[in-house]
Amino acid sequence: MPAGIRDKVAIIGMGCARFGERWDMDAPDLMLEAFTEALADAGIDRDRIDAAWLGTFFDEQNVGKSALPLSMALRLPNIACTRVENLCATGTEALRGAVHAVAAGAADIALAMGVEKLKDTGYSGLPERTKGTFEDLWLPGSTAPGAFAQLGEAYAHRHGIAIADLKRAMAHVSVKSHANALANPKAHIRRAITEEDVLQAPPIAHPLGALDCCGVSDGAACAIVATPAIARELGKTPIVTLKALALAASNGVEMGHASWDGAHTPTTRLAAARAYAEAGLADPAAELDLIEVHDCFSITELVLMEDLGFSAPGRAPADILDGRYDRDGALPCQVDGGLKCFGHPIGASGLRMAYEVYLQLTGRAGQRQIPNARLGLTHNLGGIPNRNVAAVGIFGHLDG
């Protein structure tokens, strides 16, 4: 077993742009907005950054290929810059690059930036894109909502739940996230909704309606990570460290083997198990103070509660309706409003999740503050249920 990264890397600063339809901002502008906040938070000179990772997905929509857009937007001092992409898990992937560099001793201080400028397409929803020369010839022309929507019928069938009842639990997921975002000035959507609003919203892809789907937004978020020694030297208190950062990638089983039931993400279960082991969590549901998961669609969050081990199989709908994951529940989920209210600028989301956890762990989450927050989890899912990368991050205090 590798030694791992637990407590080897500290976050010394983070920034997050205001997510939304930033018609007057392009990707470099968004990067600067997040970076200036992070730099000020870290309290270091820009030239102390040894290496940088750029996470962005739609390069043809956004900025060009390579990590040059990051180096040029921030005028970094000709350091090593790398672009990474892992579909919607890109943000966490960028963080992982920076964290590994510091853990390996290849960098003392590293930057991870996630950015996505989605609102230059001129139409709603994610941009149309090719899936590949062969795959375009046989895969259905699915959209993101359609791909995730399939979890609905499969989950209902697997656990013997009526779709109408499932939709009520899904609605609660969205209602809860909207309520949380009211306290977040950086969220795109800050508007209270009711269960009825969600159930009556126009259909997008059965069983998802418009309010079961996260928005399409522009945004950027970044993290500056360093060794715990540097964090101490900078006077950081408390020192937030990575306890684990685990990934698991599909290898085709869900796409092509009959063993997948269509109602869960095996990759999440694997990544979570690895993360909990590395972080030393015996009872994650009890030990975690908050969770930020990949709620691209309400049904996704519902399924993830079981995949992350917080609800027993088939019990997520009941737990959700009981308020277990509400702000004042046993395990607050999407305290910042989630993808639902921030939207999903693909490259940025994983880092936006980390941003909320970081603020909570440093006691700076203002109205959203969870008392005594010491341990937080982020879950970032790139792809679709049929093939995806799951990334689970666990953040805590150096001495906790």
Binding site: T133, W138, T143, A147, A149, I204, A205, H206, M255
Partner: protein
């Protein structure tokens, strides 16, 4: 003596009632009763190639043919062998000869006659005919035309009906015409066609056909008449002395173009008893005639026309029909702007996967998977070994998940797709066809159909693949 070994038709699921057309166009004509019945309309993802494949597959398990012919006046390609695509979809070996036939509304009959003459003892010929003929909105043809196909397997052993005669009266009679590339037919007055073509040529063709056998029209138990309208078919019957029989095909499907003679023949075969004489008359720049005699095997024919006449789903969405045919400049939305350029090198490399729905089978653990790769998908195997080709087209599946996607751009919204589990194992994410007005449920059985995947409008290239269709009997 060559004969028919197997026969089947395929008719698209939807039927556009003629009353809907009359209602839409009523403003342009004096009040009157609309013609009865409905016409079959191909789905957006059906064309003459897919219809032909469907009819050929409806034959059921048959001995493989040495040749395939696709007769049509609406071949999707003027230069890309359409019958070759049919052969690929049927996964026929590469020594099979494929050829297209066309040019007239009797092209299906011409192709059948040629196959009957040319097929060698011990060999078989597959003759397919299919048409999705265009018509201008408001034209009589719009209501008369129906989209359909037929497939007949021809050979010399164990036939359902033997061919015992063939005759033709050729005549460049322009009752209607369609120039190459034209959007619709130009149709002349039916009374003139009736008096100068049908009344003169049909009796002459029948006489040439029956004379050498000493038969009269009274000896003919079933007449399969292919004339562009019911009135012309009645005129043919009256002037030849043949029994016109039922007008059900015209009434519930329409005139199926180059396929009509063969569709009518299938109808005659379904009604025939051993020993019955059958005459097929096909009209189109002359009259062509075929004489057959049903054998004892004819009662073994599994009906495909009778169910098609009885079933079919009424569809009154006329503007949807017009939009899908490009007859109105419908706004399909910005997502439809996506460029669908084909990487032909990739398409050729994977031709068998795509056209014949062939996946792979791991030689080590036997797991069937799509697509075929060099690495087994079974998590307990994952062998890095080339897989054996495994055809999935004739398999069945069940729905493991599904959704109706309204965000996706699609000619017949919503786009419906889901995970389909194959009976022999494995699964694939597939589009569902013929499912917009169908109840779907996890666990529901599906069969597979060869359909248009999409069309690159910019470069006029149609791409084909297989889709899941809720199995017969599960349609709500």
């Amino acid at each position: 003596m060559a004969g028919i070994l197997a026969a089947a038709v395929h008719v698209p699921r939807r039927r556009l009632p003629r009353a809907v057309l009359a209602d839409a166009h009523g403003w342009s004509m004096p009040p009157g009763r609309p013609p009865p019945g409905a016409r079959a309309i191909a789905a957006w993802d059906e064309d003459a190639i897919t219809l032909a494949v469907a009819a050929a597959r409806a034959l059921g398990p048959v001995a493989p043919p040495e040749s395939v012919t696709l007769a049509s006046t609406t071949h999707p390609f003027a230069d890309r062998l359409n019958a070759g695509v049919v052969a690929a979809a049927l996964d026929l070996p590469d020594h099979v000869e494929a050829a297209d036939a066309g040019g007239s509304l009797r092209a299906g009959l011409t192709a059948l006659a040629r196959a009957l003459r040319a097929v060698r003892p011990g060999e078989r010929a597959l003759v397919c005919a299919a048409d999705t003929r265009p018509a201008r909105p408001g034209s009589p043809a719009e209501a008369q035309i129906g989209d359909a196909s037929a497939a007949l397997l021809v050979g010399s052993e164990d036939s359902l009906a033997d061919c015992i005669g063939h005759a033709v009266v050729s005549a460049d009679f322009v009752d209607h015409y369609r120039a190459a590339g034209a959007a619709a037919d130009y149709q002349l007055e039916e009374r003139w066609v009736r008096d100068e073509a049908v009344a003169r040529l049909a009796p002459l063709a029948l006489q040439r056909l029956l004379g050498p056998h000493g038969l009269t029209p009274a000896d003919i138990a079933h007449a399969a008449l292919s004339f562009p309208s019911p009135a012309l078919a009645r005129a043919a019957a009256k002037t030849t002395g043949l029994d016109a029989g039922s007008e059900a095909i015209h009434e519930r499907i329409g005139h199926a173009g180059a396929a009509h003679p063969l569709v009518a023949l299938v109808g005659a075969l379904e009604a025939a008893r051993p020993g019955d004489h059958i005459v097929v008359l096909g009209f189109g720049q002359g009259v062509e005639a075929l004489l057959l005699r049903a054998t004892d095997q004819v009662t073994n024919l599994r009906p495909t026309l009778a169910p098609a006449l009885a079933n079919g789903v009424e569809d009154g969405h006329y503007t949807r029909f017009l939009a899908q045919r490009g007859l109105i400049d419908f706004d399909w939305g910005i997502r439809a702007e996506r460029d669908l350029r084909t990487a032909h090198t990739a398409a050729w490399r994977r031709a068998r996967d795509l056209l014949a729905f062939v996946g792979g089978r791991c030689p080590r653990c036997g797991t069937v998977q799509f697509p075929r790769t060099g690495a087994c998908v079974n998590p307990n195997c994952r062998a890095l070994e080339p897989q054996e080709p495994w055809r999935l087209a004739d398999s069945h599946g069940t729905i493991a998940s599904f959704t109706r996607d309204w965000q996706a751009t699609h000619p017949d919204p919503p786009l419906i797709y889901g995970n389909v589990r194959f009976a022999e194992g494995g699964n694939a994410l597939m589009e569902f066809a013929d499912s917009v007005d169908t109840e779907l449920a996890v666990g529901q059985p599906v069969a597979f159909a060869f359909r248009i995947k999409d069309r690159d409008q910019r470069r006029d290239f149609t791409r084909y693949f297989w889709k899941a269709v809720p199995a017969a009997g599960s349609i709500a």
